[in-house]
Amino acid sequence: MTPIVEVRALHKRFGELEVLKGIDFTVAEGEVVSVIGASGSGKTTLLRCLNLLEEFHQGEVLIGGEAIGYHTRRGQRARMGEQEIARQRAMTGMVFQSFNLFPHMSALDNVTLGLTKVRGMPRNQAIELGDHWLERVGMLERRDYRPSQLSGGQQQRVAIARAIAMNPKVMLFDEATSALDPERVGEVLETIRSLAQEGMTMVLVTHEMRFARDVSDKVVFMEDGRIAEQGPPERLFMHPESPRLQAFLKTSSF
C-alpha cells in the first residue's frame, strides 16, 4: 500500500544555514508518528515542509502518493502554482503551537470557513459538519464564542476541529500543547489521543515524552537536521542506540 506520507532525501536551507540535511521517512495509513529532538533540530521545519508552508530545496515529499510543491519541467525543478499548492495543502491538516484561530470569527465559523470557501460545501452542510467536529472535540456548547472568549485549551481544540473537518489524509501537530497552561494540557492531549485511536494518521512534534511513548506507532528522533534514530517507541525509549538519543532522553522529563 502507498504510504500516506513519504519523505525522500529532503533538504532545506534558510539562506546559508542548512536545517534539514537529508530526511527520509514514511507514515503509513492510520499510523501515529512522533517527532522528538532538541530545540533547533529541525522538527518544526520538517512539519512545515510537509504542508508546503516552507519551501525545500532538494528531495521529495509525497502525500498519498502525490509529489507536492514542485514539478520537473524540461529538467528544471520548479515550484507549482498557487492554486495547485493550495489544493495540496488541504490534503494535510495543521495544528499550530499558537492555535492561530481567526479572531474575528466564532468557533463554528473558524471550522466552516475552509469547508465553504475551499471545499465549496453549501453553508448548511458545512454547519452540520462543523457542529459534528466541534462536538467531537467537546466544544459544541461554545460554537458561537470568539477565540478571545475561550481558554487556550479550548482554542486549540477548535483549531483541531478546524483542521480535521477538512478531511485531511494526515494531521500534523506542532507542539500543540506547548503554549498551554499546565492544567489545560491534558484536555488537548486527550483529544489527540482519541483521534489517534480512531485511526487518524498523524505526525506529532512534541516535547511530551510520555504521550509520545503512549500514542505513537513510531518515533523519529531528530538531531541537527537529520534523523538520528527511528523505530517503535518501546525500542527508542527503552533501548536507545545512539548516544545522542540516550543523552536527550536523560534531559527530558516524562
Binding site: A86, F102, K117, A159, M166
Partner: protein, 224 residues
C-alpha cells in the same frame, strides 16, 4: 446686517450653489471611492508584495503623502496636458485627489494589516485558501475594523482638499462661493453658508462611516 438681501442673493444664486455643492460632492466621492480601491491595492503590495511590488508601492506612498495637495493638483493639471492627456479641470482634479487619497488609504491599510499576526495567514494557507481568499475572509475584515476611524478621517480630508481644485478653475463650492461674493460682497454670509455645507457633507460621511462600523461590530456569522 441685511438678512433679507442675503436670502435674496441665496435664492438668486441657488443654481450655482447647488451646482458647486454637487461638484464638490462628486469630486470627493470619486476621489474617496477610486482612491480607496487603488489604496487597497497599494496597501496589499506594500505589506505582502515581493520586492518589485513593495518598493514602488512604498515610494508611491511616501512621495504622494509628502507632497502638498495643492502641488499635486497643479502638477496633475499641467503635467497631464503637457503629455497630451486632454483632461478637463474636473478630471485632472479628481485624478489628483484620487492619487492623494490612495496614498493615505495605502498607508492606513498597511498599518492595520501589520497589526495582524502572521499565524493567521499560515492557518489560512493550511486549510487550503489562496492568498486572495485569506485576504478577503481573514485579513480584510479585521483590517477594516481597525482602519475604519482613520479612513473616515481621510475621507473628510478629501472633501477639505477638494477646495484646492478652485485654483485650476473647477467650479466647486468654494470657487462658486467666491464668484458669488465678487458680485454681492456678502463675504461673511456666503463663506458661512459654504462652511455649513462643507460641515454637512463631512457629517454625512461620518454617519456613513459609523453605519459601516456598526455593521462590522455585529457577529460575523452572517457576514462570511
Amino acid at each position: 446686517m441685511d438678512w433679507s438681501y442675503f436670502f435674496n442673493e441665496v435664492m438668486n444664486n441657488r443654481d450655482a450653489l447647488l451646482h458647486g455643492t454637487a461638484i464638490t460632492f462628486a469630486v470627493s466621492l470619486i476621489a474617496i471611492l477610486a482612491g480607496t480601491v487603488l489604496g487597497i491595492v497599494i496597501g496589499i503590495a506594500v505589506t505582502y508584495g515581493n520586492k518589485p511590488l513593495r518598493w514602488p508601492a512604498r515610494l508611491y506612498i511616501d512621495i504622494i503623502r509628502g507632497t502638498p495637495v495643492l502641488v499635486l493638483v497643479l502638477a496633475t493639471f499641467y503635467v497631464s496636458s503637457a503629455v497630451g492627456l486632454n483632461l478637463t479641470a474636473f478630471q485632472a482634479g479628481a485624478l489628483a485627489l484620487t492619487l492623494f487619497c490612495a496614498s493615505h488609504v495605502g498607508e492606513i491599510l498597511r498599518g492595520a494589516l501589520q497589526s495582524l499576526s502572521r499565524g493567521q495567514i499560515e492557518a489560512g494557507r493550511a486549510i487550503g485558501l489562496t492568498f486572495g481568499g485569506i485576504f478577503r475572509y481573514i485579513l480584510f475584515p479585521q483590517a477594516l475594523r481597525f482602519a475604519l476611524p482613520t479612513w473616515i478621517t481621510a475621507a473628510v480630508e478629501m472633501v477639505k482638499a477638494s477646495t484646492l481644485l478652485s485654483v485650476i478653475g473647477v467650479a466647486e463650492l468654494l470657487l462658486t462661493t467666491q464668484q458669488i461674493i465678487s458680485n454681492n460682497f456678502l463675504n461673511m454670509q456666503f463663506y458661512l453658508l459654504a462652511g455649513v455645507i462643507y460641515f454637512l457633507i463631512d457629517f454625512a460621511i461620518e454617519q456613513v462611516g459609523r453605519f459601516i462600523g456598526r455593521r462590522l461590530e455585529q457577529p460575523t456569522r452572517r457576514m462570511v
